[in-house]
């Protein structure tokens, strides 16, 4: 897409995050959507495109009272919202619609009409993964990590440090689920989930949602919020079976998606002020830093240990506290996007002063998909 042609003009999360016992999944989608419309100063009549993952975009449009001429239900896991944003930008530029509402919500903790991700006994996963005891994310997404650790000499302490640094960010965020600082020892002493992963190396399970509204940069100038421009976008995919990943120490989907977004944006890594890397588990930011090209292969553990991603560091990463400490409803991508938008608006709880470019990278389906969005608040970067 053409850089600066599209802007985020509305962004909001659900009124509550964490444990929400008084709303269904659809109700949370609506709460986020209404909050984003209010944020953008828009009404239902302004919105002619809807996009969501996990539920039908038709259900969403009907429930809210929107009659869209564009709908996208691309569902590839937690980074679906990066892809929906990318597709919405293309649709607006192509003239298919003018104003797209993208929503996410899950009742991950309370399980009120929570979605199911069926894998039939005849599917690829049903035949070649499920028989071996695979079920929830910690039993699958974690598997490549030991190979990464052996290849690059990364240790359990290095994994723990990812969680420690993100808690430092979360401690600055009143909306974060966990805010008390932790040490490497605290992380290593937390309950074993799937060796080498302890509980504090795994994401939370919470309820919540978020919504974004996108339109053309021209239209954005008439709206109340400071526009956050889309500078570059990427999406890429690998195998739905983690055992078939080409390289266990690197995600091809991360690499391809990230490269595409950077090329489109026409920026260098040194131009980036703020980074979000979807952290379902502590090893994902290590892959993200390397596969997006911020550091060389095997260098992410040292980069984090040296404090470069921590408060005061040169590449602030996961400044909301991430999926490890902020919230994680199941498909966290929306919350990473929300934090990038807050940083670009200048209103984040842990605001990076003067930040002009934010890279937001998501993973979906346990390394099977990736989406990357690069934002800027500079109209003519």
């Amino acid at each position: 897409m053409k850089p600066h042609s599209i802007a985020v003009v509305g962004a909001a999360e659900t009124t509550k995050l964490g444990k929400i016992s008084d709303a269904s999944v659809l109700g949370l989608h609506a709460d986020a959507a209404l909050n984003a419309m209010k944020d953008a100063g828009l009404t239902l009549a302004d919105i002619d495109g809807v996009a969501t993952a996990g539920i039908s975009p038709v259900d969403l449009a009907y429930y809210l009272g929107i009659s869209p001429t564009f709908a996208d239900g691309t569902m590839v896991g937690g980074c679906s919202f990066m892809l929906l944003l990318r597709h919405a930008a293309a649709a607006i530029n192509e003239g298919l619609c003018n104003m797209v509402l993208i929503t996410h919500a899950e009742s991950g903790r309370s399980q009120i009409d929570a979605g199911v991700f069926p894998r039939t006994p005849s599917s690829l996963a049903g035949q070649f993964q499920q028989p071996y005891g695979v079920y929830v994310a910690p039993t699958v997404f974690t598997i490549p990590a030991l190979r990464y650790m052996k290849t690059y000499g990364a240790t359990e302490e290095d994994l723990a440090r990812v969680a420690v640094v993100q808690r430092q960010w979360a401690s600055r965020n009143p909306r974060a689920s966990f805010r008390d600082l932790v040490t490497v020892e605290d992380v290593l002493d937390s309950a074993m989930v799937a060796w080498p992963f302890r509980k504090l190396m795994c994401c939370l399970v919470t309820d919540g949602g978020g919504a974004l509204i996108l339109t053309s940069a021209a239209r954005a100038r008439d709206l109340p919020q400071k526009p956050v421009y889309v500078l570059g976008t990427g999406e890429a995919f690998e195998s739905p079976l983690i055992d078939q990943m080409e390289d266990f120490t690197s995600s091809k989907a991360f690499h391809v998606s990230g490269r595409k977004a950077f090329e489109e944006a026409g920026i260098r890594h040194t131009d980036v002020d703020h980074l979000m890397v979807y952290d379902a588990f502590a090893h994902i930011p290590l892959y993200g830093l390397e596969d997006l090209g911020f550091v060389g292969r095997g260098e992410a553990k040292d980069f984090i240990r040296e404090g470069h991603t921590a408060p005061g560091g040169k590449l602030p990463m996961n400044t909301n506290g991430g999926g490890l400490s902020y919230m994680h409803s199941g498909m966290y991508g929306m919350y990473a996007l929300q934090e990038s938008v807050r940083q670009m608006r200048g209103i984040a709880p842990a605001q990076i002063q003067g930040a002009k470019i934010s890279v937001c990278h998501g993973v979906g389906g346990w390394f099977s998909a990736a989406g990357t969005i690069i934002f800027t608040n500079d109209a003519r970067n």
Binding site: F128, Q130, Y132, P138, T139, V140, L146, A194
Partner: protein, 138 residues
């Protein structure tokens, strides 16, 4: 007893029949010689439909794994490995490493492993792996 068992499809029946017969069957593309897994009726590298089935050696190395401390209810109550092995013929596959302690000390990356077939019911036998040195007679 494991409950999440596969239902073979026409494209994978040879593989599951092989497991029942005590053979780990892979596929090889005739034109490009690519050996691949999981089974399908064409080569994922060159798209040729001219592919053959052969019995693999059943040998490989432990490539990566986790030890799941929160087993799925049908997998028992003790921590167990969920592993990926790299077969001598090239492809990787998911499995469990059995017949050894389920500990980091016993499960060493790159150690040789060999297939052992575990009958689940009349239709399904699963290919599991054990440390190669545990095979007494070989």
């Amino acid at each position: 007893m494991r409950s999440a068992l596969p239902t073979p499809t026409p494209e994978t029946r040879h593989y599951w029949e092989g497991c029942k017969a005590g053979e780990l069957r892979l596929q090889r593309c005739t034109p490009c010689a690519h050996v691949y897994f999981p089974p399908r009726a064409f080569c994922p590298k060159c798209s040729s439909r001219d592919v053959g089935v052969f019995a693999a050696t059943g040998r490989g190395i432990l490539y990566s794994y986790i030890i799941n401390h929160r087993p799925r209810p049908d997998m028992g109550s003790e921590p167990h490995s969920i592993a990926v092995v790299q077969l001598d013929e090239g492809p990787r596959m998911m499995t469990n490493i059995i017949n050894c302690p389920q500990t980091p000390e016993a499960l060493v990356l790159d150690m040789p492993v060999s297939v052992v077939f575990e009958t689940q019911n009349e239709q399904i036998t699963l290919p599991l792996f054990e440390p190669a040195k545990a095979r007494g007679e070989t």
